[in-house]
């Protein structure tokens, strides 16, 4: 007997917190606001843990229908919640990392105005994110999908008096809406073909379709879902909002724009794996988008000097890896990387926040340096995260990235090649950040640079009598240490067989991802060329042995160390060298620094023409000069129209109609005339 889990409570709890703080928070003390925010996010985490404790007695997937929502004709969607292994992992990541960041934020935001507003938004985000992952149908998922976009909009624009922050929030929302356009169309197609949006029903409805044939409508659905994922998870061509989103407070960047919300696209694609598996063309598109994004964003990351911008492009790039995994149908590898990335990238942002906090709001790495000794806790946790993302063996990022690269190689060596090059670039820009921030001499202004007005993070750290660079308070350091622990050891749940592990992670998720492939086609898939190398892991013995896999592991480890070496050379040994290299590269360097001018191109190709068209042609042209010029001139317009009436109608009707129109018009004009005198 499966116990009733009351899953709906998990998202509702943070919503209660958000409401209390949002409505009454202005009158509360900071302590009270903190208490409320922690209580409700903590309660959600506690419930998630409780669900885990019930795990052995559960029959998965578990579903729960709370109440009807939309019912129209044969279509209906309920407020339904769904739990399987995939949900469980996401649930733990979101509530766990979410709680840690709630804790951290209290330290980070303590001096800020709008403290209650911040925590209200943060709780609101948790509500929507949990709705997204717990949904039992696409429509409830869409509630969360749009809702996290709203929370992101509010939090990016948290310092709304800054124009850049307000613009960044708006940009994020609108670009996400472009993705939602695709998502919605996918939903319409699903409704049209299956008459339902329920995950279980859709999955069983697509089961009869074999995985080897390309089904036109399934391909269309999958591609449209991917459009949605590109928006939310910042993939080419819709990634442009994420770097701008760094205008938000740093804890927001950590929670929403690194650990959780931006991975929603990966989660959604994984959740729809049954459709993707039957749409090989769509899978290829996913893989190509992921691979290109991973590489492209990483190259931009090399040249950024704002510490948060480096991490932002890094996030885009790492999300690319996850889509690469999805694209080769290695969904569990994608989710594995999603998890480790949540640890190390969340930590990187929080540590960066701690750095920014310590140097008084400065985000430019050229003005940092030598912070190693001054903020040791931050330094060591940042070190753990940097080593993890760079793929140094034994840390979490190493296992998950390696898993993806190996699976990508089995699908197509080009994915692997670009992936390994990207791994090298990743390691390089991360160690560049590490060396620039923590080693060498401090290059900032002498001890006075607590520039609140400086405008970047606008972190108002004045007021606590700072005596120069200082380590952050404990409330910020504890989450760092916990995440550092997870970044180091979090990968051991998924050690592959080639390294003597048994990849518990993949096995745990197997019921979710392996169950939808009909056994007949699964055999074919293993036997011959197939779009789904899904079967090539543990169960069926891979076509290439462990020794080959070890060689490839060796190559990616080498790439990681090469990046470390190069960064050490350029940013520690010979700090003047990068300048010279940049100069010698000239135009190429400039275009990378300027992010390949993508924002400028979008503005010139889409935004400006559209506004010009709307204003010049539609409004001034059509509305005012065409329509109004012919009709607005009331008398002429009226006689013209009544002329038509005259020709159309016969006999008495004509005069009747004309009489009413003109008579009434005269009367009303007279009444108004006298009324206004």
């Amino acid at each position: 007997m499966t116990p009733n889990l009351h899953l709906w409570l998990i998202p509702i709890l943070p919503l209660i917190g958000a409401t209390i703080n949002g409505v009454f928070g202005k009158r509360f003390s900071r302590q009270t606001v903190t208490g409320i925010a922690w209580t409700f996010s903590g309660a959600a985490f506690a419930m998630a843990l409780w669900v885990v404790s019930q795990f052995s007695s559960l029959v998965l997937p578990y579903t729960e229908q709370l109440s009807p929502w939309i019912q129209a004709g044969a279509f209906h969607a309920e407020f339904g919640f769904y739990l399987d292994q995939l949900t469980l992992i996401m649930l733990l990541i979101v509530t766990g990392v979410g709680l840690l960041i709630h804790i951290y934020s209290v330290g980070y935001m303590w001096e800020e105005g709008g403290f209650y507003r911040f925590f209200s938004y943060l709780n609101l985000f948790l509500f929507f994110m949990l709705t997204l992952i717990l949904a039992s149908n696409y429509l409830v998922m869409f509630i969360g999908w749009e809702g996290v976009g709203l929370a992101s909009y509010l939090l990016i624009g948290f310092w709304f008096t800054k124009d850049s922050a307000a613009s960044a929030g708006k940009k994020a929302f609108i670009v996400n809406r472009i993705g939602d356009f695709g998502f919605l169309l996918a939903l319409f197609l699903i409704i049209q073909h299956f008459g339902t949006l329920d995950f279980t029903q859709v999955t069983s409805a697509v089961m009869p379709y074999g995985i080897e044939a390309g089904w036109g409508f399934l391909t269309a659905i999958a591609i449209l879902l991917m459009v949605g994922a590109c928006g939310k998870s910042a993939q080419i061509p819709l990634y442009v909002w994420l770097p701008d989103a760094m205008e938000g407070p740093t804890p927001v960047s950590a929670l929403i724009h690194a650990a959780t919300m931006v991975t929603a696209g990966v989660y959604m694609v994984s959740r729809s794996h049954a459709i993707f598996e039957r749409a090989p063309i769509a899978l290829t598109i996913v893989a190509i988008i992921g691979t290109l994004t991973a590489f492209f964003a990483a190259t931009i990351g090399i040249t950024q000097t704002d510490i948060k911008k480096v991490l932002a492009y890094s996030t885009v790039s790492q999300l690319g890896y996850m889509f690469m995994a999805c694209g080769v149908a290695a969904f569990s590898a994608g989710i594995f990387h999603l998890m480790t990335h949540a640890f190390f990238k969340g930590l990187l942002f929080l540590a960066a926040g701690s750095v920014i906090h310590s140097v008084g709001g400065e985000q430019d790495m050229r003005k940092m340096g030598g912070l190693r000794k001054k903020i040791p806790w931050t330094f060591w946790s940042m070190t753990a995260a940097t080593f993890a993302i760079a793929g140094i063996p034994g840390l979490s990022g190493f296992f998950s990235k390696d898993e993806i690269l190996w699976r990508a190689y089995q699908a197509n060596w080009i994915y692997w090649l670009i992936g390994v090059i990207t791994a090298f670039i990743t390691s390089f820009y991360m160690f560049r950040l590490w060396f620039m921030t923590f080693f060498g001499e401090y290059r900032g202004e002498a001890e006075s640079g607590h520039g609140h007005g400086h405008g970047h993070d606008a972190h108002g750290s004045h007021g606590h009598g700072h005596g120069g660079i200082h380590e952050s308070p404990k409330v910020m350091l504890i989450p760092l240490v916990i995440l550092a622990f997870l970044s180091v050891f979090g990968g051991y749940v998924g050690v592959p067989a080639s390294l003597g592990g048994s990849n518990h992670f993949d096995q745990f998720l197997a019921p979710v991802f392996h169950s939808t492939i009909p056994s007949a086609s699964a055999e074919q898939a293993t036997a011959g060329e197939s779009a789904t190398p899904e079967q090539n892991t543990e169960g069926a013995e891979p076509k290439t042995g462990h020794s080959t896999e070890l060689i490839f592991t060796g190559i990616s480890v080498f790439a990681g160390f090469l990046g470390l070496f190069l960064a050490w050379l350029l940013y520690y040994r010979r700090p003047q060298l990068p300048q010279e290299i940049a100069l010698s590269l000239g135009g190429l360097y400039r275009s990378v620094v300027n992010k390949y001018y993508v924002d400028e191109i979008y503005a010139a190709v889409f935004v400006k023409p559209l506004i010009g068209l709307s204003r010049g042609v539609f409004w001034h042209g059509v509305d005012q000069h065409v329509i109004d010029a012919t009709l607005d001139d009331s008398a002429a317009g009226a006689s013209e129209v009544s002329g038509v009436v005259r020709r159309m109608q016969s006999g008495n009707l004509r005069s009747y109609a004309g009489w009413i129109a003109f008579g009434a018009a005269v009367v009303i004009a007279y009444m108004i005339w006298t009324g206004t005198r």
Binding site: P68, W69, I70, Q71, A72, G73, A74, F75, L139, F142, I143, E146, G147, F160, T161, K162, A166, S167, G169, K170, F173, I174, R177, I178, D180, F181, L184, L185, F188, L189, I191, L610, I611, L613, S614, F618, W619, D623, I627, L631, D632, S634, G637, A638, V641, V645, L653, Y656, A657, G658, I660, A661, A664, A665, I668, A669, M671, I672, G675, T676
Partner: protein
């Protein structure tokens, strides 16, 4: 009064309580405060009485309920026939819901000729409700035209700027278009000797109207043009922005909230109800016009420098969704169209109230006059954001449900139309969020704005019901869909069967 008599009298009560209140107001001395209180009481009373309708509406039954049908004029044969079904039911309640809010929002902004203002407002309410409950075409036409006069006067007497121009433009446009409908109504009467909607529908379905097949297209168009101007459908829309900009706040709220829905309601009730075959034949180009309205309205809204004009153009876009849904001839499309009518009434009504609140403080709607208002007016900006989000169709708020259903229905009917219309979700975010940013974010650039007071109690009282309903409609739309869905279903089914019948007759010949 027992239940049965109340059921027959209820529609007359709901329709005429405001008019009676208006007549009583005429006798009032010019004590402005008393007049306002009285108007509020009357409109609230009417709202409470109107709640009888959904409370006692039998959702299992199709067809009209709470009917009253008695002879009014024997020659010509005009009946006092009223009734509601799942389609008109909520439009009546929407009207009675918005009117008290209009009274509240006009409390301080109308200081001159207060008595006239509230009399016009109440007369307006009666005319609007009458349009939705009338089942005799003559009666319907009477109420239809009756809405023009108070609205034109509200704009002309209490508006701002080029108010006379706007009022005359509004009047001429809609008046002239109505003439075509009148001609169609008179033709039908000449052939059948009845104005009764139910009888006419039956006569047309069973093929008892002489010369009908030759005239059907013209009849359809006659009705359609009157409705299309009212909606307004592209390219008949240019009266709307002018009317809105110059209208007083309450006028705008009723204009966008209810009056435009007369057009879409008319299409649903009369074009689809009486001429289903013609409606289906002409659905193609109507949907194209609706699509143009959605995209064009949104793009033009984006570049408006005037806040109220922007909201007005956004209405054109939203109403385009409604027309698209109606002419998709799908259950989802029609359900969604009905739902948008209600949702738009609430959320755009709220937006106009909010714009009016700002106008009271600064006497301008120019977006460039503002900026950074979130600092001096945090509560106001929260309400505004809420209304914006409802309007862009955020799930769990009212805008989403209708939009989703309409798009889904349109997509099933004509995939490419559905795709084109779906871009609307992008445009609405563009124009509303851009406007929101320019008005509320950034630093306060005009000194005058620093001292703007936040919402007072009266203003909150007017806004909270709208916000609450927007939320409830988004979370529990089935409360409304439960009565809309069967009504839409039966009207679709009857239009289908009548198309089939006509087709059989054609083959039989």
């Amino acid at each position: 009064m027992n239940g049965a008599t109340l059921d027959t009298a209820i529609l007359s009560l709901v329709t005429f309580i405001p008019l009676a209140g208006g007549l009583l107001l005429m006798l009032f001395p010019r004590r402005d405060r008393d007049i306002r209180v009285f108007a509020l009481v009357v409109s609230l009373l009417d709202f409470i009485v109107s709640l009888h309708l959904p409370a006692h509406f039998d959702r299992a039954r199709t067809g009209f309920q709470f009917q009253i049908n008695c002879s009014w004029i024997t020659h010509p044969n005009i009946h006092y026939h009223m009734g509601v079904d799942g389609i008109s039911l909520w439009l009546v309640v929407l009207t009675t819901f918005l009117t008290p809010l209009c009274v509240l929002i006009s409390w301080n902004s109308i200081n001159d000729r207060v008595k006239e203002f509230f009399i016009l407002l109440l007369v307006m309410e009666t005319a609007l409700i009458g349009v939705f409950v009338a089942l005799d075409l003559f009666l319907f036409y009477f109420f239809w035209e009756a809405t023009l006069i108070p609205m034109a006067l509200l704009i002309g007497m209490f508006g701002h700027g080029r108010k006379v121009y706007a009022a005359v433009k509004f009047f001429m446009y809609t008046m002239i278009a109505s003439v075509f409908m009148l001609a169609a109504i008179l033709w039908l009467y000449a052939q059948t000797g009845t104005f009764d909607f139910v009888e006419l529908q039956h006569a047309i379905q069973s093929g008892h109207v002489p010369h009908f097949s030759g005239a059907a297209l013209w009849l359809f168009l006659g009705f359609f043009i009157a409705f299309a101007v009212k909606v307004p459908l592209f390219p008949f829309h240019t009266w709307l922005p002018d009317a809105h900009v110059e209208a007083p706040t309450a006028g705008s709220v009723l204009l966008a909230g209810v009056l435009l829905k007369m057009g879409t309601y008319g299409m649903l009730r009369f074009d689809l109800g009486l001429f289903p075959e013609q409606s289906r034949h002409n659905a193609g180009w109507v949907m194209v016009l609706a699509l143009i309205g959605i995209i064009y309205g949104a793009l033009v809204a984006m570049v408006q420098p005037n806040m109220k004009k922007l909201i007005a153009y956004s209405s054109i876009s939203h109403l385009g969704f409604v027309v698209l849904g109606i002419f998709s001839f799908t259950q989802l499309g029609l359900d969604g169209a009905m739902f948008i009518m209600l949702a738009h009434g609430v959320s755009t009504g709220a937006l106009f109230m909010l714009a009016g609140i700002l106008y009271e403080r600064r006497h301008t709607y120019e977006i460039s006059e503002f900026g950074g208002l979130a600092t001096p007016m945090p509560v106001y900006s929260s309400f505004f954001l809420f209304a914006v989000l409802a309007s862009v169709g955020l799930p769990l708020l009212n805008g989403f449900v209708g939009e989703f259903l309409v798009l889904s229905g349109a997509f099933q009917a004509h995939m490419w139309y559905g795709i084109a219309a779906c871009t609307g979700v992008i445009w609405s975010a563009c124009y509303l969020l851009w406007m929101y940013q320019r008005v509320f974010f950034g630093k306060v650039t005009h000194d005058k704005n620093n001292a703007l007071p936040d919402l007072d109690l009266r203003e909150r009282t007017a806004l909270i019901p709208a916000a609450a309903i927007a939320l409830v409609m988004g979370v529990a739309p089935f409360l409304w869909l439960k009565s809309i869905d069967p009504a839409v279903h039966s009207s679709l089914a009857s239009s289908l069967s009548s198309v089939a019948q006509i087709a059989t007759r054609m083959v039989g010949r």
